[in-house]
């Protein structure tokens, strides 16, 4: 048997369309442009390209809002009647991490679409750094458990707000350094939400954070959609 008869192997890759077209390249005659038409075409094309290349399209932000509501909501439903507080149930944690995983896969798929170069390398580096910071939040949670912190702290207030405060602070500094004031303010708002939500107690903190994050992200999506409509 040779590889030619392997019906289970991957299909052969299609040739690069650039090479396929290079052999037959022709150009259609185009009508001449006057200055007004050129200006309109330039503005329309630029707006459309910016919309298509945007890394935070409203659909991603809306997906993040839904993720926050489902993930934190599931945990709140599992802890709201606990007296004394013992922590989220296993199914609620499965929903929390499952929805987060689905959202990360969705974001990766959308932001990866056929763009290459400096910004995609930068995004990879950002992902590694912020991922490491996020993991450290949970390492500290382990330390809290280890030193005997109560369940209300180690499995309630801390895991609900620490990711927002720690990752949000890092994001606020990062965006401020890159002169992105709107994103820096959003990250600072997330930090403030986490800080104030901690007063809600170990059970209700999950509801406050979920609803607050969802509201913030819906506001961001609304602003993005409004800006897009104003530009069109």
């Amino acid at each position: 048997m040779t590889g030619h008869f392997d019906t289970f192997g991957p299909p052969p890759p299609k040739p690069d369309p650039f090479d396929a077209a290079a052999a037959t390249g022709t150009v259609d005659e185009e009508p001449a442009l006057d200055a007004r038409e050129a200006a309109a075409l330039l503005a329309r094309t630029t707006a459309e390209a910016e919309r298509r290349f945007a890394l935070q399209p409203p659909v991603l932000v809306l997906a993040a809002a839904a993720t926050a509501l489902v993930a934190y909501g599931a945990v709140w439903l599992s802890v709201r009647d606990q007296h004394p507080y013992s922590g989220p149930s296993a199914p609620a944690l499965a929903v929390l991490y499952g929805t987060l995983a689905v959202w990360i896969v969705f974001v990766t798929g959308v932001t990866r679409r056929a763009l290459r170069g400096r910004s995609s390398r930068q995004r990879r580096l950002d992902g590694i750094v912020f991922g490491a910071i996020w993991i450290c939040v949970y390492v500290l949670q382990g330390a809290l458990h280890h030193v005997g912190a109560s369940h209300a702290i180690a499995y309630g207030v801390y895991p609900a707000v620490a990711p927002l405060v720690v990752v949000g602070s890092a994001a606020a500094g990062y965006e401020a350094a890159r002169a992105h004031p709107a994103r820096a303010l959003l990250a600072a708002a997330v930090v403030a939400l986490g800080s104030f939500a901690s007063f809600a107690g170990p059970a209700d903190v999950w509801a406050v954070v979920g609803a607050g994050l969802c509201g913030l992200l819906l506001a961001v999506a609304a602003v993005q959609l409004w800006r897009r409509r104003a530009r069109a």
Partner: protein, 99 residues
């Protein structure tokens, strides 16, 4: 300034759209030929002919990634292409202001 001062290489609908689309990419990024074709909506043959003209003028650069059948071509605007678009836009503004 008159319309005759507009860069003739860019002042064609298809090439104006190609250059404006590539200028919207973050600096240092490129886009695959397939994605560019999807964005511009030209046939492969048409697109490649316009790309060649822009590449000959140094306005865009193309690069291959991968090997053999799996190779893909990516396209990016060069610094010279970005400057040409800025100059084209400035002339266009002058022309429109004079109308």
């Amino acid at each position: 300034m008159t319309a005759a001062d507009l860069d003739p290489l860019i002042h064609v609908p298809a090439r104006l759209r190609i250059v404006a689309t590539l200028a919207a990419l973050p600096d240092g990024d490129s886009v695959s030929f397939t994605r560019l074709q999807e964005l511009i909506g030209l046939t492969s043959g048409n697109l490649i002919t316009h790309l060649r003209k822009l590449e000959d003028a140094g306005y865009i650069g193309t690069a291959k990634t991968g090997n053999g059948q799996a190779s893909r071509t990516t396209v990016a605007l060069t610094a010279r292409g970005r400057a040409a678009l800025e100059s084209y836009t400035a002339v266009l503004r002058d022309v429109l202001g004079a109308l």
